[in-house]
């Protein structure tokens, strides 16, 4: 899992490796599962509508499937350019 911008600051790390249970199959379910890992995770994900995700470096919605994915990233809406 990769975190960027204020999500990285709130979680306290930019990168962590996790092994969620088999019934965590979507981005949204992964957010639920990660939120229970620590108070920091819970705080990071509390504004759920602001959380964007990429699965293997491609933007995905919260209902997207994550099975087989090797790299999942969470971040706020982008503000480059």
């Amino acid at each position: 899992i990769l975190y960027f911008a204020w999500l990285r600051e709130r979680v306290g790390t930019g990168e962590e490796t996790v092994s969620p249970p088999a019934d965590v199959t979507t981005v949204g379910q992964l957010i639920d599962w990660l939120s229970q890992r620590s108070a920091k995770h819970a705080a990071a994900f509390v504004e759920r509508k602001l959380i964007r995700a990429a699965v293997d470096q491609v933007h995905q919605a919260h209902d997207a499937n994550i099975r087989g994915a090797t790299e999942i990233a969470f971040f706020p809406p982008v503000t480059g350019g």
């Binding site: 990769l2 911008a5 990429a54 470096q57 971040f75 982008v78 503000t79 480059g80």
Partner: protein, 158 residues
């Protein structure tokens, strides 16, 4: 169509030198459109009400940033007859007045050059994984995404 020139870099670049390089690679195109996003001087939506910005840090997603910009260039050349595309985006620490992003398009006709360039900027603003943290008088804070950027991007949808 020459291969899109896409760079995600920490180093400062000179927009004029980049335009010279781009136009010399696209000498036969009648129209060149270039856009530069510079570090702006104010925080918040308007210059009138905003506070002065003294520094900026740009977070980015290495790997995905390059891929996303390449995908946007690919989309642009499917939609308009473009002879060439250049996209340069910086990350890391930026000083006031430095360039953040440079997008250039070359085409036989000016309408296509303008449309391709503005399309790339609008989509880059909402799709490319970069995040600005601006330092103003009250400290550093992450820039919030603007709804106007989303609506500018979606107007290009077919």
């Amino acid at each position: 169509m020459t291969t899109p020139d896409i760079r995600v870099q920490r180093d400062v670049f000179d927009q004029g030198a980049e335009l010279t390089r781009f136009s010399s690679r696209n000498k036969l195109s009648g129209a060149i459109c270039a856009f530069t996003g510079q570090m702006r001087d104010f925080q918040g939506p308007t210059r009138e009400t905003g506070a002065v910005i003294s520094a900026m840090e740009l977070d980015h997603y290495p790997g995905m940033a390059e891929k996303q910009l390449a995908a946007l260039a690919h989309d642009a050349k499917l939609r308009w007859p473009l002879d060439g595309i250049c996209i340069i985006h910086r990350f890391g620490l930026l000083k006031p007045t430095e360039a953040i992003v440079f997008v250039a398009t070359a085409s036989a006709h000016r309408g296509d050059a303008f449309a391709g360039c503005e399309f790339l900027m609008d989509w880059l603003k909402t799709q490319a994984p970069f995040w600005k943290k601006e330092t103003g008088p009250d400290g550093a804070q992450w820039v919030e995404a603007q709804a106007s950027d989303d609506s500018r991007a979606t107007r290009w949808k077919i």
